[in-house]
Symmetry: C2
Subunit: 405 residues, 2 copies
């Protein structure tokens, strides 16, 4: 008998019929002899709907009230899924974040888990029940309801798996695992049977939407084995685990792309210490989520700094950066919201030079101009024109031989 | 500076615009110098929608899960209304039943309040805030979330008013108070400036839909003054209070009617002790909500027992009663779902005989046949044909002079 955590997202519990399918899935696991902790998100688009209502009601959104509002969505879903389990004879109980022992800090909307005390969950499992947890929620050290943020249900699942010492944490999505690239762009994209935490982190940071990056970090820190798989087949998905030291590494494991960001350039910046710090501290204080930052070498004492920001933050970022440009004596600020980022990721890159060169040659040969470059030990990213990004993904997937078995 | 409890129902918080109107109303009370505890129900038809979802998902509805599901509705509403208050500069905090200190028994779906420990509410008021409570919820002695039942928000309001020693509890509805009869049936119906708890209880028991009967009982038991009024005028509504011993009593205060029930008759029942007990205990065990019960005098050792049940319970009640009829040796069971009940209510009836006679004469003179009669110290009810009930209401309202000032 194994203990497994199974997490289903909003799409999987969007209506009564899908909830019953989730219940059937859990029932098969239970009848196989395993203990199950089930984590569910809010139904379908419910979280968006609650945010829309809040925007309609008020321009002021105290964190305490927002978290109370948003967590209502997961409460509904967990109670309904629990009923669906009872309907097919599976005994179960639902638990809020507080009931499940998720103690968090007081940072509303995006609370951090401090500790998980799963006494009630253990008791429920010991009594032979399935424990159903509302995702992405906890109770703060101030005894207030907290929300762990969008995508927080994945984190809930990983954290409860760690706290209970579960054999693995199964994250169910609408695809059958993690792919070498987005299958909507490259139909021959291949499901990876295994991937390391580091690679998956780089992928989620550069456009792979699931699982949520934070949950992968949590799993890596605490050594929780993840299994990313499809809800409605019993086919194996993708296992995410520590890298085996002697594993034969693929040089490049995956190609990702991200069209959610815009590029900003602060031109003619005086090249003296502290300028970059001034700019990016000020943007951080405005909660502008700056991503890729590139600074060219200095030319005659001035330099250009380019960076990417989410489309949603662009207007605010432009406003603040224009003010900062004057302060630090820069020549001006420009932005481009038609860019995209394409990245190649692979743990084998560490011991294989030349990946960046191959990437640049591939992009060049299909006429894609590179606007910005940044690299990590296991990733190379290029900012390119948004209209060319799918061509770039297809060419890179082909060039690195990812469609082959 | 007075402390007032204000309760708004689902219609008053059905959308963002109405929530903002509620916030404006509360703001005016606060700016007058009063402290406010606000109690809100779930938005519009949300509770019905949650029940529909539960029915769609499962035929098994554990009480614990149902209460978790349904209370999500009030949590949403309270957080949103709180934001609407912040939007206009009124500091406020929302509280679940548990946070507000509502300790209940473990009877899910219809939990009874055991104790209210309003420490957090007092602290919020002392800090100069409006405390916003989600209605109809608490936490059980087993530490589970409980629901106080449909209409339970009125009870929440009365209970918190009692626990805090509030000056009064204002129950806001879509009409401007309690009327001498349903104004949709009799346009000249008159708003009553005052009414006693006993009269209002009889009225709510016989078809006056608001406030919820249970909250009136709670208010009577604990001596909480109620003010039933309209949300969107500052006009006085109806005060509900103890009867003044020397008050000049109206003989008849109001005419009510109820079309939500069907009549059942168990015919040819052997007239021996225990038969009625057998029948009604069995129906109670099936949670059939039997209301008016009338038994005729025995004729040749057999009698007829008639009673009313909600339309929703009729099919189940017929099934069980047919089985019981055989058990107790009755001749048969019949039902009629086209009936209605009309009642006259008045504390002055206690010292004025002849009200029943006037009622029967009035019904007779407008051609309404009486099928069943039952009385209490301050009420007379008749079951009549459903098609004639509005005529009966109009005639009785006229006959007892209720349209006069």
């Amino acid at each position: 008998m194994a203990l497994v955590v199974q997490k289903f997202g909003g799409t999987s519990v969007a209506d009564a019929e899908r909830m019953r399918e989730v219940a059937d899935h859990v029932a098969r696991t239970v009848r196989r002899g395993d203990q199950v902790v089930l984590v569910v998100s809010a139904m379908g688009k419910e979280t968006d709907e609650l945010l829309r209502l809040a925007a309609e009601v008020s321009s002021v959104h105290p964190g305490r009230e927002m978290d109370m509002l948003i967590t209502a969505g997961e409460r509904k879903a967990m109670a309904l899924v629990c009923m669906a389990l009872h309907h097919i004879g599976i005994d179960s109980e639902s638990f809020t974040g507080s009931q499940a022992g998720f103690l968090t800090d007081t940072n509303h909307r995006n609370a951090k888990i401090l500790e998980v005390r799963p006494d009630r969950i253990r008791a429920s499992l010991d009594a032979g029940r399935v424990a159903v947890l509302g995702g992405s929620q906890g109770v703060s050290t101030d005894h207030e309801v907290t929300f762990l943020g969008r995508g927080g249900s994945d984190t809930t699942a990983v954290a409860i798996a760690h706290a209970l010492g579960a054999e693995c944490c199964e994250l169910y999505t609408d695809v059958t695992g993690v792919y070498t690239t987005d299958p909507r762009v490259v139909p021959t994209a291949r499901r990876m049977p295994t991937i390391s935490f580091d690679e998956l982190l780089e992928m989620t940071a550069t456009g792979c939407p699931k699982p949520a990056m934070r949950s992968v970090e949590y799993a890596r820190t605490h050594g929780v084995r993840l299994h990313v798989r499809s809800a409605f087949t019993w086919q194996e998905g993708t296992w995410v685990d520590e890298e085996e030291p002697d594993m034969e590494q693929a040089i490049v494991s995956a190609v990702t792309h991200d069209t959610s960001e815009a590029k900003m350039t602060l031109a003619g910046v005086p090249d003296r210490p502290g300028v970059a710090a001034t700019v990016f501290r000020a943007l951080a204080d405005q909660e502008v989520n700056v991503d890729m930052i590139v600074q060219n070498v200095s030319d005659h004492g001035v330099t250009d700094i380019s960076f990417t920001v989410p489309h949603a933050d662009l207007a605010s970022a432009m406003e603040h950066t224009e003010r900062l440009a004057a302060e630090v004596g820069a020549a001006g600020v420009s932005s481009d919201d038609t860019i995209a980022r394409v990245s190649v990721v692979g743990a084998g890159m560490r011991s294989n030079p030349g990946v960046a060169a191959t990437m640049f040659e591939t992009l060049s040969s299909c006429g894609v101009n590179i606007q910005m470059i940044s690299t990590s030990a296991i990733r190379v990213s290029c900012v390119v024109d948004g209209g060319q990004v799918e061509d770039a993904v297809r060419a890179l997937h082909e060039a690195f031989g990812l469609h082959e078995a």
